[in-house]
Symmetry: C2
Subunit: 207 residues, 2 copies
């Protein structure tokens, strides 16, 4: 596959990471998910934990705002400084564009669909699933405790949606923002991968 | 194919009708789109034109409301009468359920995804496309004049979205309301049909 990029946006617990990873293997192209966190840490000097917490989530917590004030302290006019969250976002924009510029790949999250909107070789995919599936998926991976899983999943997706809205002015998960949306609780991981692989071929018949 | 129903919701001009029709041929199952208008006319006694105008569109025009008042005139308490639009909706609900009860089929529009939500043998698909594609598709079919096409398409989709919201309390076109969403301007009619056909198999491997 030459000159093809697949972006995968996904609800928490929908298996988007696994789908992206398996797709990249099948297409024999690089896969970028958490890797972008490492790159952003290197590029920006931000802590890995800060990037993990803030890179895809709207962060308006008190603690975050205090951290911002501390960071600005004594650095002149407050207004002159780009908020840390914006700095991180634009670091990720730079990284995503650079990765796409290198050639075919699969990128999970990071508003990559929006960041790469001016390219014509990108397939944008959104993966969602019903709550039962997402809960089980998270519990199997030990991501949340059984009692809190549902609340945590909703919260995580709310923060992702807010983040996407803030930086793109678009609605996260609206079908019209993606070329292909799939319910992984109905198709399963394997079938989602093969549908996306097939869709890639349909999109660029020349490949 | 046994016991499978595909519902296709679609933006105006996205080619959803053609996709559904071709899919039904390939699956060798009945196809229902405008046919439901004829059935609803027979069942309800409403004029074909009224059903075409109101069956999938929120109709709050002055003319419609006047017609409603006229229809109620002298029939006792106004509140006792179900608005005509509701009468038509529930006629269509009955028809869609009956059609699904007969066996495998492809149904376009009519909130069929929502009406059949309690069945577990239904694949819900949403087809959308970019405005350029939709405009060309409508103009080729002589549906609107060139000058008005874009406004008419937006208006038609707005009325469909309002109608869906009113009767389902859900958002029309939100990816989470469908198992599969496709951008027909990226894949084309043929490829959309084959992706849906493949997805049917993925959903019910036993078939």
């Amino acid at each position: 596959m030459q000159g093809k990029i697949v972006t995968i946006s996904r609800q928490c617990g929908s298996g988007g990471h696994s789908i992206g990873s398996e797709l990249a293997k099948r297409l024999d192209v690089p896969f970028y998910d958490k890797e972008i966190i490492e790159m952003a840490a290197k590029e920006s000097g931000f802590q890995r934990e800060f990037i993990e917490e803030t890179g895809e989530h709207m962060n308006s917590s008190l603690l975050f705002n205090i951290a911002r004030h501390v960071a600005y302290a004594g650095r002149g006019n407050y207004e002159d400084y780009q908020p840390l969250q914006d700095q991180l976002y634009f670091t990720q924009v730079k990284i995503v564009k650079e990765l796409a510029g290198k050639g075919s790949c699969v990128i999970v999250g990071r508003c990559a669909d929006y960041i790469l909107r001016n390219r014509n070789d990108v397939l944008n995919v959104f993966i969602h699933a019903d709550m039962e599936y997402k809960k089980n998926h998270c519990l199997e991976r030990g991501q949340f405790s059984g009692e809190d899983a549902e609340d945590m999943i909703r919260r995580r997706d709310k923060l992702r949606a807010d983040h996407y809205r803030y930086y793109t002015d678009e609605k996260w998960g609206a079908s019209t923002n993606y070329h292909l949306c799939l319910d992984s609780s109905v198709f399963g991981i394997e079938k989602c991968v093969s549908i996306i692989e097939d869709a890639c071929k349909g999109m660029y018949p020349a490949s």
